[in-house]
Amino acid sequence: MSPNGRRTAFNNLYTAILALVTGVVIATAVFVTVKCLVDYGTIFKIVEAVR
């Protein structure tokens, strides 16, 4: 903890790893969302067969 009471990072490397992982997760979510939109035209709805 810093002298003015603010919490400080134990190590900046860990912060970078967390940022990288967060970016990877966000990119994965975006990729899955785009893929669902392109392939099925929806994100959460289950595709039904049209007769």
Binding site: I17, V21, V25, F31, Y40, V47
Partner: protein, 276 residues
């Protein structure tokens, strides 16, 4: 934890990127299904059309089969009639063959009889020529006898005149008181020659044409020779038949008739006979 998160994200990305696009596949299958349905409909329509055509064709073929059956029946009847006619013609041919055979035999017999008749005709012609020669000789001797008779008649008349003159001279020599002398001939006077008796109707008469008129022909035969009215004479010139003569007028030594069946105009000197 961070590594696990990265691994999990990588797994998710890998799974999603390699997952099948079922929407595209559905669209493809749907379009394929639509195509197949359309094709099925088209095939069903074509099937119906073909079925209708087949029924129509079947009806036509049935009609044609019926017509052919009728024609076959007619042809069967005609075939039976033709066979019957053929049998009739065959029997006729057989009968005509028999008739032809008999005709051939008859023709052979007729040819044989014709040959015999030709031989007889040749013999008759030879006899005719011979008879003509004899007739000519007899006619010549007759003319000679007639001339001799005429000369004898002239001698007789001359002797009779000489006898009368001798009787007158003797009477003049004996004077008026003398007995009239008449001499009787030693040789008795012969009777006048008379024509021979009439020849029978079946005898053969032969003579010559002596005169030819416009419609009448005179022949050298008369009633003394046995010629009668309506008697028919055949006229020949050599061996050639000229005509027939039907006697219409008969005299003692000649006759006249009308020519018939004239092949050539008769001439004086043609030979007439009653025998063919």
């Amino acid at each position: 934890m961070s590594l696990f998160s990265i691994w999990l994200c990588a797994s998710v990305v890998t799974y999603v990127s390699t997952a099948n696009n079922y929407r595209v596949m559905f669209d493809e299958e749907k379009s394929l299904n639509n195509t197949l349905v359309a094709e099925n409909t088209s095939l069903q329509r074509r099937f119906n059309e073909k079925t209708a055509l087949m029924k129509e064709l079947e009806a036509k073929l049935n009609d044609r089969i019926q017509l052919l059956e009728d024609e076959k029946s007619k042809l069967d009847v005609e075939l039976k009639n033709a066979r019957r006619t053929s049998l009739d013609y065959q029997s006729r041919v057989n009968s005509w063959a028999g008739v032809l055979t008999s005709f051939e035999r008859t023709i052979a017999n007729l040819e044989q009889s014709l040959n015999l008749t030709q031989e007889q005709l040749s013999n008759a012609h030879a006899d005719n020529i011979k008879d003509r020669k004899e007739l000519n000789e007899i006619t010549a001797s007759l003319y000679e006898k007639i001339v001799q008779m005429q000369s004898l008649e002239a001698d007789r008349r001359r002797l009779l005149e000489a006898k009368l003159s001798l009787e007158e001279q003797i009477n003049q020599l004996l004077g008026p008181d003398g007995e009239v002398v008449s001499f009787e001939p030693v040789t008795p006077e012969l009777d006048v020659a008379r024509p021979a008796s009439a020849i029978g109707a079946g005898a053969d008469l032969k003579g010559l044409i002596t005169e030819v008129g416009k419609s009448l022909v005179s022949i050298s035969l008369g009633s003394d020779d046995g010629v009668k009215k309506n008697m028919v004479f055949q006229v020949f010139r050599g061996d050639e038949f000229i005509c027939q003569i039907v006697v219409t007028n008969v005299d003692t030594s000649k006759a006249a008739g009308v020519p018939e069946l004239v092949q050539q105009s008769p001439r004086v000197g043609d030979y007439v006979t009653t025998r063919l």
